[in-house]
């Protein structure tokens, strides 16, 4: 049994000598998750805005529902999507199972509730006067919405970051509908799961560190960008 230090050292040495296979895995991870977040964010934020801004019967129940959906395990989302996309399921003819498209779909489903829940909480905290000010100065409802979103942008930013974290870190759904096929649907987390199941903990942690470092670079650049923009505004 190798110790934690051994494993970490091995992990770091693996990191330094990045090879093609590793990079394929990384690019699948980020490609799929960035696509998913890109497609989901607009719709989710619209939904969150509607929940925060319009009063309609059942609104509170709907918010509760989205909070609840946060507790749905990735593997259950994966399972459901699997049954839908399976040859024996309703959309079997699309032949999407075990493709990156299926992974994107699964991660979209996973990120939607978290974006709505967090986005709603940010938008709800916006001052009522923002909307009124925008509106009275002549903004269309759409423009007023963008103004409100701009005022709570840090909260929305945190929501997107959280959603991205959720899906880049999830394994259950990608494993289920992606199938962990090498060079095709194997992403960082399914690769970690594989290495772990083989008892190759060092490789598992190495991949975890890769993910961490890349996510840190991404977050830090975003935060710097955000900081610069804030300085300008």
């Amino acid at each position: 049994m190798e110790s934690l230090t051994d494993a970490s050292l091995k992990a770091l040495s693996l990191l330094v000598s990045g090879d093609a296979e590793l990079w394929a895995i990384i690019s699948i991870s980020f490609g799929v998750s960035l696509q998913a977040i890109l497609y989901t964010t607009p719709v989710a934020l619209l939904t969150a805005y509607a929940l925060a801004h319009f009063d309609f019967p059942g609104r509170r129940t709907l918010v509760s529902l989205f909070h609840t959906l946060l507790a749905v395990p990735a593997v259950v989302v994966g399972l459901t999507l699997y049954l839908i996309l399976s040859r024996s399921g309703p959309f079997g003819d699309l032949k999407l199972l075990f493709t990156q498209t299926a992974m994107v779909l699964g991660q979209m489903a996973l990120s939607f509730p978290i974006l709505v829940a967090m986005g709603h909480s940010a938008l709800q905290s916006a001052d009522q006067r923002v909307w009124e000010t925008a509106h009275t100065l002549g903004a269309t409802p759409l423009r007023a919405m963008f103004t409100v979103m701009h005022e709570v942008r840090y909260g929305l930013f945190a929501a997107v970051i959280a959603a991205f974290g959720r899906i880049i870190a999830e394994v259950g759904c990608s494993m289920m509908v992606g199938g962990n096929i090498l060079n095709y649907t194997r992403n960082i987390t399914t690769a970690i799961a594989l290495e772990t199941s083989k008892g190759q903990f060092a490789q598992g942690i190495a991949l975890g560190i890769v993910l961490l470092v890349l996510a840190l670079v991404l977050n830090y650049s975003l935060s710097t960008l955000r900081h610069r923009l804030a300085m300008q505004a």
Partner: protein
Amino acid sequence: MKPPLFLFRHVTKRFGDRVLLNIDEFAVSEGVCTLISGDNGAGKTTLLKIVSGLVKPDSAKVQVKDVEMSWAKARAKIQRSVVYLHQEPYMLDTSVERNVAYGLRLHKEPRASIYEKVAEALRWARLDHLAHRNARSLSGGEKQRVALTRARIVNPSVLALDEPTTNMDQQSRISTYQLIDELRNEGMAILVASHDQTGFTPIADHHFQLLSGKLIEVEPAFKRSRGTNITRLPG
């Protein structure tokens, strides 16, 4: 005499048991400045917000160009014509310049011309040195002046001003009275809700007191003739 831009009739607004507003008729006319005063909680803000299309009354009819319709029907028209200045204005989390430009940038106007107008308006409000500061970091009176500048630059048909001079220093208050006078003379309809009666009665064409949900006309202390310059600080 021209008919009013909007004639509000039978405006009622309730909060729980309390009937806050129960107004028979309220006219918003071109080139007329109307002052509304009343005790705290009398309903001035609520009335201005109803007239601006921001708060839904329990019932109200609006006559627009001789056509009477429900408030809900008239809402879009109202909103296009009226700009409301909040009693506690909200500063958008951006520069003073962009706050002021907000309303203009919604329309398809060349950027250069927008920022020329903004610069001019900021000079008028003696805010030009603050143009690039975040509006959130301003002092109370500076914010109030940004808000007024932001509202009037849109050049609406109706300007509904809720306590426009709070927190302002003397000079700013005087410029505000002058501005209102000018805008009114250019044909804008102006509604002011304020406790600063000494300041506003001289320029107001009508002065109403809001009492128990009703508007009661107050005889102005002295009737001003149009065009007089206000240089003396009232109050």
